[in-house]
């Protein structure tokens, strides 16, 4: 059972929220976008996206909706809720504070 580590899991939530903040997407499109933006740095298997999406939905941060797509098909689109928007802002600020602090420390040791 390969669960992503806590750090990656937490980061994954943040990334998913950020990407969905830009536009509503369905699961596959989201996975493509994730690869695009993070390159090879974050090795996320396609599948592990879904537990994360469902957790975020149960917590009320994103909302899911079935919408028609091309060729008479339909897909489950996820979009950010107001609650999720607020959470994203808070978490992003926190992330920036922490990463700034960490990179500050790392720079110290370099000099």
């Amino acid at each position: 059972m390969s669960k992503p580590s806590d750090l990656v899991q937490g980061t994954l939530d943040l990334l998913v929220l950020k990407i969905l903040a830009l536009e509503p997407l369905h699961g596959w499109a989201l996975s493509q976008r994730l690869k695009q933006v993070s390159g090879d740095v974050l090795q996320v298997s396609d599948g592990s996206l879904y537990p994360a999406l469902h957790k975020l939905e149960q917590q009320g941060w994103i909302r899911a909706e079935w919408k028609p797509t091309e060729n008479n098909r339909r897909a489950k689109f996820y979009s950010l809720t107001r609650l999720g928007q607020r959470y994203l802002e808070k978490e992003a600020a926190k992330w920036e504070r922490i990463s700034a602090a960490i990179s500050g420390v790392l720079r110290l040791t370099e000099v």
């Binding site: 059972m1 669960k3 369905h26 699961g27 596959w28 499109a29 996975s31 493509q32 298997s45 396609d46 599948g47 592990s48 879904y50 537990p51 469902h54 957790k55 939905e57 149960q58 917590q59 009320g60 079935w66 098909r73 897909a75 489950k76 809720t81 107001r82 609650l83």
Partner: protein
């Protein structure tokens, strides 16, 4: 923020709870959609269709695992797992109906008995009385400092009470009540005349208890004085029964003892007065100062009343009792009359009502507790055996990745299911038991308060959970430890694991047998005591004797001559009835109750100290009474027909009185006098002893002519050669011919009177016996079960031993010994434990020592016999195996 969060998530939670199937199918669709898109993407990248599909699936990962992981994110996942386990539990239990049914029955017995007894104990002993602020209510009694009476709680005289009431104003309000009165209610409007139990009370009685009448008003000081317009209050029950709940009853007239009374109020249905001296059946209440004679209201020597106090805020019962005690000592020294008691004691009103039931009810609760423990152990034993037979299944489940906690939880759920089903059945049993109890014991105080309520329901729930935990944990630990490989490899050839589980079951059995022994000993003692009671001699032959009681109202029978004429005609007509062998008249028949005593002194003896006297029970009798009831005249003669009225100054005394008060003398010709009034009676004869209550020793008794000495009531005693019950109707017809308004009460045979006296003992001993038998059956089933299990475990081994030439007889006795061992250990523990436990029920025993060797011996014998009988089956079966067949079983 919080609120907004809830608004978002509640619909999701509801969806997750109620539309689980849709969630599932949507998840499938979502994942399929993902794969499809990935395939299209791969095709567009130039892959072959097969390759595109393969890579898309590989990129997604393990779909089944993914689905599980995603589902784990949904709400209610824990609940879903629980329901899943529950379903599996129900399915497995249904696959073994024999086991499930046995376990459920065992638990139903244990839980049912406990819930019933707990409800009774709580309703009767613990629930507050149905009055306002009942914790502040108490009864104050006069104290028996000389120890002449069986209990120190003596009723109160009115003279002392008025002094108490006046002087204790700052400590408590006090009311007077006399709950042991009765009235002849005359027939009016086609209704039958009847004798109704009644009470006199002071006008503040109901306000002191905080009881408001349901209709009309309560007594006022204007009702409660001599010469006031006669007023009565009736209970809701009497109103419903006799007046068909007539809403216009207030203001109507009721004829009590042939005098008209106005009904001023109806008491609420919840009202009942229950005290140590009875009163629960009182249906008519009248004001005491209007009813009682002036002399009774002012004397210090006649104790006909009970004093109820409502403590003032901040005053404790000991404070009040101490103050009244000091006051009573002053009263005693200020009043030279004899029979003034020199002290007072108090107890709470609840204690007063239920004191007599405490030991028996707690003893019964203890007995049911033992039954429940035994049932739990049996249940645990069953679960352990079941776990043993399923050890391979568990090992396989662990090997396949089943979490150990999940497995244990599954077992706990099974045990919870069984005890819940047992409790459901047990509740039915408890309900039936309570219904039966309410009908079987109308004599018990507060039996009307018995109700299954929220607390009892909570108790049931707690019992279920505790039983399930206790049994589940024992069985879970019995097999939780073994490693998987051993479990998988264990076959019937390797039986070590089975043995360690059997050890646990044997320990449980030892404890079970120990408890059973305690119950059996208790039941044995109570039964022996009951047997003593039943066979104790009332003093007269009890077969085919019928008694009927009547009271002549003073308004209609004013003159002695009128009463005598009634007595004469009654006796003549009853004696003339076909089937009557003999008939007599007495104020109270043997076994009919206390019915009055007085302190006397003997004229020829040196005078006793002030207030001292010889206690005699008093009975009025007609000349033919002694021969009619079969009471032997040991010395002297009975009364003459003309010793009546003014010439009724002759008495017979009982043998006990002769021996106790005239040691070494001939009492005949001596004279007795009452210590207060000074009349003198000549002793003309000695008769045998009788008991006023079969469970109490006979008292010294004095018989004087019922023709005279103030008697206006009597009990007709009729002896017949057979079927005396059939005489009741003709005798009642004779009474009705003499006076149509005169009701007859207490119609019963002497046997029935004895039954009434011994109902407590009968009830307790039979219930404990039932519990003991249940315990014995459970324990012997346990013994049988363990040995049978061991035998199947050792099938192959036994086959080998037989094949190698083991003696069947030796094998039988060895197995038997093996099986009986836990029973013997339990017996060794149980006997000393019973010796300690029976001290607690000493007060319930009659002429029976708590350490009765016969009972202890019989219990040890019975238990050994049952244990051997239970083990004989499996042992016999094992020692007569066909070795070839046994060897081929695996």
């Amino acid at each position: 923020m919080r609120l907004e969060h809830w608004i978002y998530t509640i619909p999701l939670r509801l969806r997750a709870l109620f539309h689980r199937n849709r969630l599932d199918s949507e998840l499938d669709e979502e994942l399929r959609d993902h794969v499809d898109r990935q395939i299209e993407f791969n095709l567009a990248g130039g892959m072959s269709p097969d390759e595109a599909r393969l890579i898309a699936l590989r990129k997604l990962g393990n779909a089944a695992l993914l689905r599980d992981q995603t589902r784990a994110m949904w709400n209610w996942n824990g609940l879903e797992q629980f329901i899943h386990d529950l379903r599996i539990g129900i399915r497995t239990l249904r696959r073994t109906p024999g086991f499930s049914l046995t376990a459920i029955l065992v638990m139903a017995l244990g839980i049912g008995a406990n819930v019933a007894l707990f409800t009774v104990v709580r309703s009767v002993l613990l629930k507050p009385l149905p009055y306002s602020d009942p914790g502040r209510l108490a009864l104050v009694y006069e104290a028996d400092v000389h120890g002449q009476h069986p209990a120190p709680w003596l009723p109160v005289d009115a003279g002392s009470f008025w002094v108490w009431q006046r002087s204790m104003k700052s400590l408590a309000q006090m009311a007077l009540v006399s709950p042991f009165q009765e009235y002849n209610v005359s027939g009016e409007g086609g209704k039958l005349p009847e004798v109704v139990e009644a009470a006199w009370c002071t006008n503040n009685f109901f306000s002191l208890l905080g009881v408001q009448p349901m209709l009309g008003r309560s007594f006022t000081p204007n009702d409660d004085k001599p010469g006031a317009p006669p007023a009565a209050m009736i209970t809701a029950n009497f109103w419903k029964r006799r007046y068909a709940s007539d809403p216009a009853i207030v203001g109507k007239t009721i004829w009590l003892d042939a005098r008209p009374y106005t009904i001023i109020g109806v008491l609420p249905p919840t009202f009942v007065y229950s005290g140590a001296f009875g009163g629960a059946a009182d249906q008519i209440w009248t004001p005491v100062r209007h009813e009682a004679s002036a002399s009774l209201l002012h004397t210090y020597g006649d104790h006909e009343f009970l004093a109820i106090a409502r403590l003032a805020p901040g005053v404790s019962l000991p404070t009040l009792a101490a103050s009244v005690d000091a006051l009573q000592k002053q009263i005693e020294s200020a009043h030279p009359e004899p029979a003034v008691h020199p002290g007072a004691i108090g107890r709470t009103m609840l204690d007063d009502a239920v004191q007599n039931y405490k030991t028996p009810l707690y003893a019964l609760l203890g007995a049911t507790g033992c039954v429940l423990l035994i049932a739990c152990m049996n249940f645990a034993g069953l679960l352990v055996a079941r776990a043993a037979s399923r050890s391979k299944e568990f090992a396989i489940r662990v090997a396949l990745g089943g979490g150990r906690m999940r497995l244990i939880r599954g077992r706990m759920i099974e045990s919870l299911l069984l005890s819940a089903a047992g409790a459901a059945l047990g509740l039915l049993l408890a309900w039936a038991a309570l219904e039966w109890l309410i009908h079987a014991r109308p004599d018990m105080n507060r039996v009307e308060a018995i109700r299954f309520d929220g607390v009892a329901a909570a108790f049931t729930l707690a019992v279920i959970v505790l039983c399930a935990l206790f049994s589940g944990i024992i069985s879970a630990f019995s097999s939780g430890r073994g490693n998987v490989l051993a479990g998988l490899q264990e076959s019937s050839r390797a039986h070590s694991g089975g043995r360690s589980r059997a050890l646990l079951r044997r320990l449980l059995l030892t404890a079970e047998v120990g408890l059973t022994v305690v119950l059996l000993v208790g039941a044995g003692l109570l039964l022996k005591s009951f047997h003593h009671l039943r066979s104790s001699d009332l003093g007269v032959p009890v077969d085919n004797v019928l008694t009927l009681h009547f009271g002549l109202p003073g308004t209609r029978y004013k003159q002695d001559e009128q009463k005598f004429a009634f007595f004469d005609q009654l006796l003549a007509r009853v004696r003339a009835l076909p089937g009557v062998s003999s008939a007599g008249l007495v104020s109270a028949a043997p076994g009919e109750g206390w019915n009055g005593d007085d302190l006397m002194s003997i004229v020829e003896h040196p005078p006793l100290g002030k207030g001292q006297g010889l206690d005699f029970m008093l009975r009025g009798a007609d000349p033919g009474y002694f021969s009619a009831i079969g009471l032997p005249i040991l010395k002297g003669r009975t009364f003459n027909q003309d010793e009546r009225g003014k010439r009724a100054n002759v008495v017979l005394i009982s043998r006990g009185a002769a021996e106790q008060y005239f040691p070494g003398e001939d009492p005949i010709g001596k004279h007795v006098k009452t210590i207060d009034e000074g009349g003198v009676w000549t002793i003309i004869g000695v008769v045998g002893d009788v008991r006023w209550n079969v469970s109490k020793p006979p008292n010294p008794t004095l018989y004087w002519p019922i023709y005279g000495n103030g008697y206006s009531f009597g009990t007709i005693v009729v002896r017949s050669s057979h079927d005396v019950d059939l005489m009741a109707i003709p005798i009642q017809k004779v009474v009705a011919q003499l006076d149509t308004d005169l009701p007859v009460s207490n119609v019963m045979t002497l046997r029935e009177a004895i039954g009434k006296n011994t109902i407590d003992s009968e009830f307790d001993s039979i219930l404990v016996l039932v519990f003991a038998v249940i315990a014995l059956v459970l324990a012997s089933a346990g013994l049988y079960g363990v040995l049978a299990y061991l035998v199947t475990q050792r099938f192959v081994e036994l086959g080998i031993r037989l094949a190698l030439g083991a003696q069947r007889g030796a094998l039988l006795s060895q197995l038997l010994l093996d099986g009986v061992k836990p029973a013997m250990a339990g017996l060794l523990i149980g006997l000393p434990a019973s010796a300690a436990a029976v001290r607690l029920i000493r007060s319930m025993l009659y002429e029976t020592e708590p350490l009765d060797p016969v009972v202890f011996g019989a219990v040890a014998g019975l238990l050994s016999f049952v244990a051997i009988a239970a083990c004989l089956g499996p042992a016999w079966y094992a020692s007569h195996l066909d070795p070839m067949q046994a060897l081929r079983t695996e």
